[in-house]
């Protein structure tokens, strides 16, 4: 499974952002993931409108001190993890 830069990820049915004890979490069927800075920035952009490329560019700006290449790798890795959890649908 490769993540296409032109695809638009969107949270799959039954996956949504929630809050618990002042923390943001991604709730999924039978799972929950705690979201911190970068992972929260990624997940809030999985709205079916942003392309993967746009998410990468926007986070490269937010985390401008990090190496752009590393930011991209981290994002692709995180999206792949969410895809494996079946938390994302990818739209063309």
């Amino acid at each position: 499974m490769t993540i296409e830069l032109t695809s638009r990820p969107r949270l799959a049915a039954g996956c949504r952002l929630g809050e618990n004890n002042q923390e943001r979490i991604l709730q999924m069927p039978e799972r929950a993931l705690r979201l911190n800075g970068p992972s929260l920035e990624i997940v809030t952009r999985c709205d079916g409108k942003h392309t993967v490329q746009q998410i990468v560019s926007e986070l490269q700006q937010i985390y401008s001190k990090a190496q752009p290449r590393k930011v991209e790798e981290d994002i692709l890795g995180y999206l792949a993890l969410l895809q494996k959890e079946r938390a994302l649908d990818f739209e063309e």
Binding site: M1, A12, A13, G14, C15, R16, G18, E19, N20, N21, I25, Q27, M28, P29, E30, A32, Q83, K84, E85, R86
Partner: protein
Amino acid sequence: MPHELSNPLALIAELTHRCPLHCVYCSNPLEMQSRSNELPTETWSRVFQEAAQFGVLQADFTGGEPLARTDIIDLVRAARAAGLYINLITSGLPLDETKLSALIAAGLDHIQLSFQGAREEISNEISGTKSHGQKLRVLEWIKQHRVALTLNFVIHRRNVDQLEEMVALAETSSATRIEFANVQYYGWAFANRENLLPTRAQLDRSMAIIKREQERLEGRIRVEYVVPDYYAKYPKPCMGGWGRKLMLITPSGGALPCHAAQVIPGLSFENVKERSLRDIWERSAAFQKFRGEDWMQEPCKNCDRRDQDFGGCRCQALLLAGDAAATDPVCSLAPLRPKVDAILAAVNLAPVSVGAGAGPSPNESLTRPSWLYRPNPA
């Protein structure tokens, strides 16, 4: 210990014991509660509020058949308003298109539709009801909605050879998850155990199939498999550990650390009608009873795995060893493991009437086990 206690993550809301099905492995207790004892809508709503404020993330609506509650839409709305993620575990029987739409509009997040098999005959036999056709209709209706769907299959000797057909069924649906869970031997399943335990050969074959399907479906459908712990080397961390992650509320408001806890003699359970969830979680003697390690016996007491599996299941220890504080007898280190081995030996020697993918044999009625069906409470 209480100082390091964290809050429960999920609330299992057994809304009712009423159910149109009669599954031979039903996890409901042998003594079921009647409709007249069920908690009213307001009490459940308060419980959901308390749960969310206490840090609970998710409510599992189960039963019985949760849709047997006429106030189910209000209950979904109340749990969602409280901020919980709502999971409905249903047979799909009392469902129609209007009710489905209303449930989703009220905030239902995830439907777990339980199947008794991939085919009509076995489903009807196991549930003692004609139910399979309705489930297939429900799958079609769900496709019209944006809601998460898991197909739940309870696995046992009579259907373990149909895994591929079950996966194929899931692939025709909108499911993103399949849960194959072998029967766990409590309640009605314990009474029917000899007819439900798969053979070693069936189990090995099933594990190979699951592995292959997990790889094939990665990224599309998550496939989960719970093996029967009688065949395992070590027990499972039952409920994630006694009083560590989950709280179950019975139809009449009893707060239990697990489905089967009522089989353990000498435990008394608090009721949500009288005390708050937090108070019960932190102080109830039943929840305290098997927390931590003080209650453990040898070999658990000094075992390296004790913080992974917490000594296994307390109810299984009671049922098999006659002592709820014993090492779970399914553990290969347990002094009573030979008892489990003897049960397995009997199962593996007895002739099995279903072969790989075989249809019902012509003399099916001769080989059909004499099931003990669960009745329906008043």
